[in-house]
Amino acid sequence: MTNTLSFRRRAVNNVMLSLTAVFTVLVVGSLFVILGYLAYNGWHFLNWDFFTKLPTPVGEPGGGMANAIVGSAKMLLVATMIGVPFGFLGGVYLSEFGGEHGLFPFLVRYTTDLLNGVPSIVIGIFAWTVLVRPRHHYSAWAGGIALGIMMVPIALRSTEEFLQGVPNSMREGAMALGASKAWTIFTVVIPAAMKGIISGMMLDLARVAGETAPLLFTALSSRYWSKGWDEPTASLPVMIFNYAVSPYDDWHQQAWAAGFVLLALVLLVNIIARGVLSRATYK
């Protein structure tokens, strides 16, 4: 009796534990399938022209996505100029001035999390109503600012988290030497948390670099070099979307190449950021 029971229990144990391993292999395996499939298809169609030439019209072979690469870089620059300072300083406020309690810090934390959960397409609509509709034209500004708004919540919370990781004894040590609170924060606490903060910002940037939805109707896209910052501007993710859903084979090939480049960049930044994080003094 006890033997059969324990046999059944042992069997369930073994089967279920094996299943957990199987699912882990499947999940991790999907990463390699994705990487491998993209590399296989993308590498194939990737050449020098991809980085240096403009897109060609349908049916004309060759061409590249130079304008989209530059466009993405421009918009990410705008996004960084917004997301990093606001997120960073807001995070400094929450960690060093706001405290755990109080209504205002609570509201800031709450809305930050709320904004972080807002679907990116909704951020796109918002940017459109504020930056595109009144001015009647699409622009790299609008796209960059939409991405910047998306960066702020994560930049803010990760800065807060890494600053909180710095032991209080550091703050006391500096203040006991006669440093003012502001000096303590900027000469001791922030430097101590710097590696973590930087890696958080890099991850944040990598995340918005792949965002497509907020750009669809803020920066739109373009088949040409956009002059300056106030014209419709191409970006890699939007190009991938447009080309992938098109019915043309040569556009599909370009989409693969672009997808490979985008994924490689995003994963590279992720790996570097995690490398930086692993060397951080306080986590």
Partner: protein, 276 residues
């Protein structure tokens, strides 16, 4: 050695400042005096009417069981307790006759340095740790900073051990070295008083012995108040000892008297190990 850049705060009394009568001639030795200090964490009262005199260039030890308020008291002396919200100090704390509550808090802390229970070097180089205090005091000349760093490390008896690796991270030092680095860091500001909050509790006996030796030398230039858990340490190093219990100062006297001939029963119980 006491010549520091002009922006640094000096211990010299301003002649226009009126000196309270009780701080004149006969008691000039008193550098730090507290009168009826109460301390509250929110509604909880952690200190009850502490009156205590700290004598110039002497070591004063504060002993008592954990939670008795000795560390809290120490932290009121340089007002570092204010960094915790919902706390309140009542009563008078006089540094050379000046009420510390009236002083600018950052200049107070430059005059009253502190060394903490666990070594807390900044995650910077050894050099930058010691130079930190000099720099926030407005010193920018490299040569002068280098001199101060070296001098402070020498005073903290650490220079010989680290002179070849000043640019390395302070976190790579051993616990005892880190604590001496923190002492050097505090000395670089040239404080008149040095508060030590159980400075050896995280250290092994050898490192502890080195620090005690150091305190003995530092006495010539610095007044020290040390909280300690270790009664032998108090007996070895301090001239004066105060015994705290449940947020009150039970007895304060010469160390010899406290240990040999205490006047209060609680003190005797604690000294003889009947509790705590």
């Amino acid at each position: 050695m006491n010549e520091v850049d002009g922006t640094a705060v000096r211990m010299v009394q301003d002649p226009t400042q009126t000196i309270p009568a009780e701080a004149t001639k006969p008691e000039m030795k008193v550098q730090l005096r507290t009168e009826g200090v109460n301390f509250y964490y929110g509604k909880y009262q952690a200190l009850h009417g502490i009156d205590l005199d700290v004598y110039r260039h002497k070591i004063t030890a504060l002993i008592g069981p954990s939670g008795c308020g000795k560390s809290t008291f120490l932290r009121t002396l340089n007002r570092i307790c204010e960094t915790i919200s919902h706390t309140r100090v009542e009563g008078k704390i006089l540094l050379d006759g000046e009420d510390v509550m009236e002083l600018d808090v950052t200049s107070l802390r430059r005059r009253v340095g502190m060394v903490f229970q666990r070594p807390n070097p900044f995650p910077k180089s050894i050099f930058d740790n010691v130079a930190y205090g000099a720099r926030i005091n407005g010193l920018h000349r490299q040569k002068r900073i280098r001199d101060i760093v070296e001098e402070s490390l020498v005073r903290a008896a650490l220079f010989e051990e680290v002179k070849d690796k000043l640019q390395q991270s302070a976190l790579a030092l051993s616990g005892g070295q880190q604590q001496r680095l923190c002492i050097a860091r505090a000395l670089a500001v040239n404080p008149e008083v040095l508060l030590l909050d159980e400075p050896c509790s995280a250290l092994d006996p050898i490192a502890t012995a080195k620090i005690e030796e150091l305190l003995f030398v530092l006495k010539d230039t610095c007044t020290m108040v040390m909280v300690t858990h270790n009664m032998q340490q108090a007996a070895r190093t301090a001239e004066y000892t105060g015994f705290f219990l449940l947020g009150r100062l039970i007895e304060f006297d010469k160390t010899d008297t406290i240990f040999r001939n205490p006047s209060k029963k609680e003190t005797e119980d604690y000294i003889t190990g009947r509790f705590g």
